[in-house]
Symmetry: C2
């Protein structure tokens, strides 16, 4: 008799963004004429850079010609041309990443979820609260125990370690989704030292690193001494280059990184991840890898920067509005997310409905990210200037 | 302290095809001048159909223009235009597949591995021996118990159920990888009845269905009455349309299919799989889905058929050679794989080395697929006519 993985019954019934999609659909059915401005799910609105399109079409053409056709990738870990582009991107910041430590992924979401496969079911997993739900759900599915570190207004929404707490895995996301908070180098160093002391592994989600303008803030955990013995870094081109629909990113698993067997033996995590991927993944589509290489080309880099600047102008519009309304908020600087206190002490789903009903703006209720998110709300800067300005004008009008 | 998933220590050290790649690399280094003919890993040599290239480039162009740019797919389950093409493909064979039962995947390998996530760790998983290693490895990684049903020359390499054996999950692959054996409708009906009687779930790998020319043989398990209450089907465009490097296929999880909680409650597997994918997958790249739609277009279908005919001519060349040498063999009809007895009772890795050393032909040692594979060898029909003919001429010369 086929039995279900019982861990699935412990999940919240719906994935947050599917809940939101349902509420929007219900509203639209009742109010077909109303124009909704979406600042909820972190999806982008600008097209992918022209260089990515060109590189991708070249890749597609190669696939249609016998002499240049490419079948299976030998390892499924990514083509050297793209791994080299990634390594060069790190080298600009004086971080050395050997090509063998780089795994090209189909977006950070798959790998942040799948990486749990290689760790013991008995692992204690530390996440912050609020937290990106994928970290929680994928660990619940795997039967792992979750513990939470509070991220609140008091600590600037940056959870910090407690040496009395034991854990095996730690998820950190900086710039943070959902709060937009960004760790300083000193703060990350505290985490790296804690992880090394506890022999824990940090899974560092750097999906929003490209939004960091402040050169004193770390864009990679590997800027921190000691990180290579305790951290895996995952990055995505989704937000940087509009790859939400193209699906490509990269995961760095340093050769130096170890985990342990029950009897205390050391095991290479890079080898273990390689083994997992060898059996369950066949690599990213070749033309998509070409598109990603286009992002790292000189013209791609320029085009991407223009897009990021565009989104960060939106973030400024949102921040200025919230500040003018004297609403407590965080993020929006060095981050595409803006996190703010709901007015009139509404709970965050109430405020979601209130915004949708009254000004047809969709955001994300903070409670969807954890108990500390209740009473808070997330907006993204990924819409157009026009829509962002319109939404903020509606918000001002409503709350004044 | 980060602990490894101990199940990984139970795996064979290397994935079969990585082992083979290493032996080839070692041989090439020693013998740089020798030209190797690869008939080992099931990779194709013909480029993808022109229709797929055109559709993909159109998709890439759309991603570069604001008005047609697509970000996240709402569900990550695939675009309706492609799911509709898949449903129409089944409808030609009078099989009705609702769009909501279709999940577009990035190749059957990911889903055959990841599907194990949704089943209990205590599951007993039945696979045939010999078997495609991904089924075994992904279930070992998940801590599940494997049992084997013998597929031998005696039963035409078609394992059949034994009602005295209890199991929860059953992997079937037809046309079979590695043996090329194809179940008849009557034989599959025995499996469907067995699975329904045991409330077990069949994971049916139909990756090679397009190679079935004999219209009396089933190309989908859903041609068998009763299959929708006991089977998941996975299919790939890798071999059909040369998508080994493009990465796209589809998984069918019928609404009717249930599994059970420990206390006997019924759970929808389609909902559970949706939940898994919602947290760990963001869908297949949009331009890749466009390419897949191109495969199902009228011109794509014609181009694909030409490619399949080409490979099946290779299969005939191989079969004719083996038969002329009086070597016992199976497959090669309705299947791109040819499975044969190694000459002189060599074990299958000995024969691998013997072929590589003497005639520079690479195949796959049957032992890599299980104990019943020892003394057997797999060749694929995916190389060119020229190379296939040359390899068979060398084989004839060597064995005569």
């Amino acid at each position: 008799m086929a039995k279900i993985n019982e861990n699935f019954t412990k999940l919240k019934k719906n994935y947050l963004f599917i809940d939101i999609a349902k509420r929007i659909a219900a509203y639209k059915e009742k109010n077909p004429g109303k124009e909704i401005i979406r600042m909820g799910i972190g999806d982008v609105t600008l097209p992918i850079p022209a260089a990515a399109v060109e590189f991708m079409k070249r890749g597609a053409n190669e696939m249609g010609v016998k002499e240049t056709f490419r079948g299976y990738e030998d390892t499924g870990r990514g083509y050297d041309f793209l791994k080299k582009a990634v390594a060069d991107y790190y080298a600009e910041r004086e971080i050395t990443i050997p090509l063998d430590d780089i795994f090209i992924n189909d977006g950070a979401k798959s790998d942040t979820g799948n990486i749990t496969d290689i760790f013991s079911e008995n692992s204690v997993v530390l996440v912050s609260d609020p937290v990106y739900p994928v970290y929680v759900d994928s660990n619940i599915m795997g039967g792992k125990q979750l513990i939470y570190a509070d991220a609140t207004a008091e600590n600037g929404f940056k959870a910090m370690p407690n040496y009395n707490v034991k854990c095996d895995l730690i998820y950190l996301c900086s710039p943070n989704n959902p709060t937009g908070a960004v760790y300083t180098k000193d703060e990350l160093k505290v985490w790296v030292d804690y992880a090394n002391a506890k022999k824990a592994v940090i899974i560092f989600d750097a999906a929003y690193e490209a939004f960091i303008y402040d050169k004193t803030l770390p864009r990679s955990i590997f800027e921190i001494p000691g990180a290579k013995t305790c951290a895996i870094e995952m990055c995505s081109l989704s937000k940087t280059a509009g790859f939400t629909g193209l699906r490509c990113g990269y995961t760095i698993v340093p050769e130096e990184l170890k985990a342990y067997t029950e009897d205390g033996g050391e095991v290479s995590l890079r080898d273990t991840w390689t083994r997992r991927q060898g059996s369950k993944f066949n690599g990213v589509s070749y033309p998509v890898q070409c598109a990603a290489a286009g992002v790292f080309s000189p013209e791609g880099r320029r085009q991407v920067q223009t897009n990021i600047d565009y989104y960060m102008e939106n973030a400024s519009i949102i921040l200025d509005t919230l500040r003018s309304l004297k609403i407590p908020c965080t993020g929006g600087e060095n981050s595409p997310y803006i996190w703010f206190k709901t007015p009139s002490n509404m709970d965050s789903w109430q405020f979601f409905d209130y915004l949708l009903e009254n000004i047809q703006v969709v955001g994300t209720p903070g409670e969807g990210f954890g108990k500390n998110g209740d009473g808070w709300f997330r907006l993204t800067s990924f819409n157009t200037h026009e829509n962002t300005a319109e939404a903020m004008s509606r918000l001002k009008h409503m709350l004044r």
